[in-house]
């Protein structure tokens, strides 16, 4: 009897190990794992895709490019499609983390505005299909900020102590400081980076909080006077609270493109391409752009948008607003310095 128990015990142990190593087995339906920014899609679109192609979509979200990169790089996740930003795509291409897209399976690519094709992060356009684009700027509450806002310097103004939201994202926040100081946000100069670090640490007592997606609700409900936001969030919050206004500071800012990519090691490349193609269908692209408020690179979808949005400087800024704006570069050689600076800024008091 005792021996039987012993065998049972051993058997049970093996079961645990085997269970852990293999994970769950059978999959009834084809599966597609999509990794996107939070609040960055009209979720009914996903349901429609599931129905149309009979594919189960597992949809997860991230808050910063760095978070996405670390998770994918660590191998802890097996996503098929992700939607990172330009500089992160560049880095991922360099590190061989992306799969080339077969564009014959993505015929709707023809709708993408030529302006957004062959950009430096993916020069021959082999890996990515643009999803949305936008800028980084200051969102402010006109009732709380009476003076004109046109410079990043206002975020260092003692008057607005504890009234400022910053982005909890390394490249964006360091970029703001670099631009405020008059440097390029792709600087490789350690001295300039150190100055940006000092500026951000000096700014800390004025900052109410470093936030991600929460910034939208917080600004709508008037929790703070000023916030650094992405343009699409500005479009959304302005719609909810007309007191809010968005501006791209005169020192310039970051112009970015988020694009859909297929990750290396995908088990279902065809489904991934179907998904990307589906997202580029005019009707679907329009619904996403309309719902989340970001600027679309899709020519047909743009035509369907409300003319009021098209004339909104926030969503579709004229070229003069963009003249000092830069696109992030991957900076693979100095990115560790950016990480160190950001860690020190966050740790400082």
């Amino acid at each position: 009897m005792k021996k039987a128990f012993k065998i049972f015990g051993l058997f049970f142990s093996i079961m645990i190990v085997v269970g852990i190593l293999t994970g769950c087995g059978s999959v009834p339906k084809a599966q597609l794992k999509v990794y996107n920014w939070g609040d960055y899609i009209d979720e009914t679109v996903i349901e429609e895709f599931e129905k149309k192609y009979n594919i189960d979509v597992i949809y997860d979200t991230f808050a910063t490019n760095e978070e996405m990169y670390v998770k994918v790089k660590g191998g802890g996740a097996d996503y098929d499609v992700a939607i990172p930003s330009d500089y992160m795509i560049e880095r991922m291409i360099k590190e061989g983390m992306l799969e080339k897209i077969d564009f014959s399976n993505v015929p709707n690519y023809k709708y993408i505005d030529e302006r957004f094709k062959n950009l430096p992060y993916d020069p021959n356009n082999e890996y990515s299909v643009p999803y949305m684009w936008g800028t980084v700027g200051i969102l402010y509450n006109k009732k709380m900020v009476k003076e004109p806002v046109d410079s990043w310097k206002i975020l260092w103004d003692e008057k607005y102590k504890k009234q400022i939201f910053m982005l909890d994202s390394s490249r964006d926040s360091i970029g703001v400081a670099l631009k405020m100081l008059g440097y390029s946000l792709n600087t490789r100069n350690i001295d300039e980076l150190e100055q940006a670090k000092e500026a951000l640490i000096r700014q800390k007592p004025l900052v109410l909080s470093y936030v991600g997606d929460e910034v939208k609700d917080a600004m709508i409900s008037g929790q703070a006077a000023l916030a650094v936001v992405w343009s699409g969030d500005a479009v959304y919050t302005k719609r909810e609270n007309p007191d809010l206004e968005y501006v791209i500071p005169k020192e310039g800012s970051n112009l970015w493109v988020d694009a859909m990519v297929i990750l290396k090691g995908t088990k279902n490349k065809k489904a991934a391409e179907q998904f990307i193609n589906f997202m580029c269908e005019p009707e679907i692209a329009f619904r996403n752009a309309d719902y989340i408020g970001y600027s679309t690179p899709h020519t047909e979808a743009k035509k369907m948008l409300d003319p009021e949005i098209l004339n909104d400087r926030t969503a579709y800024p004229p070229d003069e607003d963009l003249k000092n704006c830069e696109v992030f570069e991957a900076l693979s050689d100095v990115i560790k310095e950016y990480d160190r600076v950001w860690t020190e800024v966050k740790a400082a008091r």
Partner: protein
Amino acid sequence: MKKAWYAYPYLVWMAIFIVVPLFLLLFYTFTATTEEGIRFTLQHIKRVWEPIYLMVLLRSILLALICTVVCLLIGYPVALILASKEYSQKRVLALLFVIPMWINFLVRTYAWMSLLGKNGLIDMVMNFLHLPPVQLLYTDHAVVLGMVYNFLPFMVLPIYSVLTKMDKSIIEAAEDLGADYITVLKRIIIPLSLPGVISGITMVFMPAVTTFIISRLLGGGQYILIGNLIEQQFIVVGDWNFGSAISFVLTVIILISMGIMRKYDREYEGGAIW
């Protein structure tokens, strides 16, 4: 010692989820990946002792200590009341203490955000009473409040369970011999309940010193604690070596404080002195 058959699954479990991760932690702490390969290094441990990170560590320990003291000051009387004759029959009060723990603590912490925030409930009450508005959310106070709120049951329950199991006849004997309540409390109840107090302190201090989500939500990323620093290294920066090194230092500190606690625990066993 002969191991029983039913221990095997647990041993396997421990090996996979405790021993292996600990070795990984040690591995990452003491190695660096360079172009020539992996080599032994102390650079990550050294970096933890840079003043900027040391301050984060000290701040975390300080906040955790404040939280533990507040929990003890609130928790002990509560446990006394719960265990007293009037309430010990009715378990309702004890149950009320446990019920909030059934709700995920993340949800409860989010609830505090809307209570403390601008135009939140507290702000509205202050407005109504024509008192000046106070900045509560995104301060140290909010973080301590969140920690006390979340960890208080961990202080109350061990003390409560020790108190209910206490031999009531000793207290009765003391009262028969003419001791007043204060004396009984000082000479009998408190010394006898020390094991509960010590396990309560341990159970509050450990999660308080390592918390990252409470300080993130209620501290707004302004007041980062050691837990946030570790989280940031793994999630955002991807510097596993430095993250492991901080975790390693923190583990050592926790082990030392547990050792001290154990020493006191043994000294007070039997509750002879106070």
